[in-house]
Amino acid sequence: MDDLLADFLTETSESLAELDVALVKLEQTPDDHATLSQIFRLVHTIKGTCGFLGLPRLERVAHAGENVLGKLRDRQLSATPGIITAILAGLDRIKAIVGGLAETGEEPAGDDTALIAALNEAAAGRAHAPAAATPEPPAAPEPPAVEESPKPAPAAAPAALPAAAPAASAAPAEAAEPAVAGQTIRVGVDVLEHLMTLVSELVLTRNQLLQLARSQENAALAVPLQRLSHITSDLQEGVMKTRMQPISNAWNKLPRLVRDLSHELSKKIELVMIGADTELDRQVLELIKDPLTHMVRNSGDHGLETPAERQAAGKSETGRITLNAFHEGGHIIIEIADDGRGLPLDRIRAKILKQGLASEAELAAMSENEVQRFIFHAGFSTASVVTAVSGRGVGMDVVKTNIERIGGTIELKSVAGQGTTFTIKIPLTLAIVSALIVQSGGERFAIPQISVVELVHAQAGAADGQSAIERINETPVLRLRDRLLPLVALNDLLRLNGETASVSAEAPRYIVVVQVGANTLGIIVDRVFDTEEIVVKPVAPILRHLTLFSGNTILGDGSVIMILDPNGIARAAGIGAVGESRQIAGAAVEAASSGEKTAMLLFRAGGSEPKAVPLGLVARLEDIPRDRIELASGGLVTQYRGKLMPLVAMDGGASDSERQSVLVFSDRGRAMGLMVEEIVDVVDAELSIQLSATRPGVLGTAVVAGRATDVIDIGFWLTQAFEDWFRGAEDGASVAAARVLVVEDSAFFRQLLVPTLTAAGYRATAVGSAAAALKLRDAGQRFEAIVSDIEMPDMDGFAFVRTLRAGGIWSALPMIALSGRAGAEDVEAGRDAGFTDYVVKFERDALLTSLRQCLAQPVAA
């Protein structure tokens, strides 16, 4: 039998029993409004559930009864014995049908027209006692007939995925039978909670007693205490069991969800559920329901490909989502796996840079898994791939937070083209956990055992180096099996620096290595005691803001102790989503270009600090012999490819040595050279520039390869060479004075694009957002072309171009997309959205060529 139906039957039987009592009460006090409302509600619920379960006969009877009750409640009728009799007759019929349902799982056949007519009569106010009494017994006790068989609808829902849920459908079926047979009783959750609290206290008291007994050699006590201990354990287990529910309760809705999802997305999805009878604490179950639903939805939406894509990839058309639950050492493991495309690493990397969560260098040093884990980062929405199904504000960060809140962890593994697996590890119960007791600054603390990986005994200044705490500029780290483990001293973190601090610097220390997400972290403590079963109690409301603690508890010796929250410690220590790589990442910068990196040319000119310029702007690097630099008409020039090229020296850029390094910038046959002291390197770096307008020739400062670096303003230096650089270009250009609008959220790129475009003879206007651009449009400003960034906050380039193409005075303008990447797919996506062309950021020539072509087209047409 369907377990929904079983629930319904249990509930309805109870309701019916209540109804009998209530109706009799009503007959005695016909004006009791509260009783009437209660009766109406009960019948209404039965009717409503019938409709939901597809029980038409029951629904019709209940509906007729409800009509009468509604009138009674609204005081359009008064409760005469005749009416009550009619209603009671209706209830008897409902009981008979429910009885039949319980036996066969199907509504018994029968004719209710007479009864319904009587009820309708009553509702219309024409009830006579005899008329209502007549239709009472005839059809009700009829044996359940099979031929009519209005099969309950919900049975069809799981049946739609028959292969999908063998275990799931089998387990509840067994559980459902006794539920109807009356072998279960319903107990309020609060009663169970209270029992649980009592048992928790009992466990604590038992622990206390055991501790006492250990210190006092009393043989007489030992035996009964042992017994008490055993019974307490059994009791604890028994009470826990009352709170346990199979995980299928949380999975019930998923087959339906997946079915709807596959229709909505036109994908073929198979849902496989393994271990549906794995039991876990009711409280935990409630808390993981939503995250699980969200993740399954995500897998179906983002993870699995369309049938066509799957076929192209050589997979079967039907995508598979596998849910697997099992016990593992006091924990429950739930795996949600799909065999889809895997996480898009490139997209995630781009997003990380975009949101400034890590620098290029940090990213380069990260493992794939570390990058993937960014999807758990708060606010890390994969907004560009939001569909109606996913991305409705419940991000993976919320999932992670929810799981961490119940002391669980979430891991993910993703292989491109093969799928993604999320592994959730949660404690069996929230009430009692195993914890490691440590001491720091004279105070004891508990660390939940679930997050403890290992204990290391370290000695500051130990000679062998293996287990010594070393310091990088006062920051302690530990060498642990070829890795550097970031350390936090609990004393410092909790500001427990008492008189012990100075002494303990030399003393041996213990390091508790804890796992927080994908990061490991060492917590330095003074002493490590035992592990103990503790009952987690929430801290007082006035202490809730202390995120380092997840609760408090009473130890076996009766003292109160705070429970440390490893997540909170990691956050306080600055080890968050970016992970340990931030701590370890050296100056090494990988030159491989990916994501939103920009190639920067590093050079020096006056002073030791490096300067940088985007490599895309530099035409060539030259090394000119000193003697080839001549003085002409008040400026330095050199003969360069048959022409005279003006040279401009940056401060300290002119060297006295034999040869002079020159950066050549050129444009339409004109070139200028910027003399610099030394060309250092070319690195790929993320550009986040702090602009400063204080010094001419410098756009601002950025961190490149780990060093603060001045980024020079090419526009300034060009005018140093040719005062008329911009004007001159204007004169000679065929596209003279074409107005170009630049939409770019990065101030740096704006500053760079405007001079570049101006230099090429355009009149460039730059705005910082799509919204600002639209304002210009609405103000009636005219342009001949638009150059727009793709990735911008609020409204991205794609949305912007769609808005423009949709109408308005700019709808026919050529639009060029600027983006960090221009793979074939990206170009395709760009053109689909309505861009005329798609150019990689900093491909200066490409941009100018594209602009020329775009502007030439209308002329040619």
Partner: protein, 169 residues
């Protein structure tokens, strides 16, 4: 006026009998306590327990008023240092603090004081509102003043004493 010295913790407010001879006039019953030589009173109905010296677990990073937490028959009670709360100087080292346990929204709090003395039943006629010149810290946590024969008793407002916000310096 009757006095009853508390020998051992009273469990509930009902444990303290109202004196019989004060018929007629409306009276209120207070547990009196001393804080830096100032006599204070807490309505007896808001007192759950009176405790002698307890071992208190410090809570790192907590606001300074919070002395720590203690175990009261299996329940964890947050201890509030009333001297800190009322910006009084720390108690001299030889004082053995006692505490008055109060309940607020299901949570127990122990108010650490220098000394808990007696339970007084006071007539409403000797009640006065706070004089306007009372220092702000006291005015903020006092519900009024009782005139006793020899001294004045400040009525502490437990709810306001417990309204500790995290951002207080």
């Amino acid at each position: 006026m009757t006095q009853a010295v508390l020998e051992r913790p009273t469990h509930a407010a009902g444990g303290v009998a109202r004196p019989a001879e004060t018929a007629g006039e409306e009276e209120a019953v207070f547990v009196t306590l001393t804080l830096a030589d100032q006599l204070c009173g807490v309505p007896v109905l808001s007192v759950r327990d009176i405790l002698g010296q307890q071992s208190i677990t410090r809570i790192p990073l907590a606001p300074p008023e919070i002395a720590g937490s203690l175990n009261l028959r299996g329940r964890i009670v947050t201890a509030i240092d009333l001297r800190q709360r009322l910006r009084l100087p720390p108690a001299p080292p030889d004082t053995v603090p006692m505490s008055v346990v109060a309940e607020q929204r299901g949570e127990l709090y122990a108010l650490l004081v220098d000394q808990v003395s007696e339970v007084l039943s006071l007539p409403a006629s000797s009640f006065e509102r706070n004089p306007p010149t009372l220092p702000p810290v006291w005015a903020a946590h006092s519900a009024g003043i009782y005139r006793l024969k020899e001294r004045l008793m400040v009525v502490l407002d437990v709810a306001r004493l417990l309204a500790i916000t995290a951002d207080r310096p």
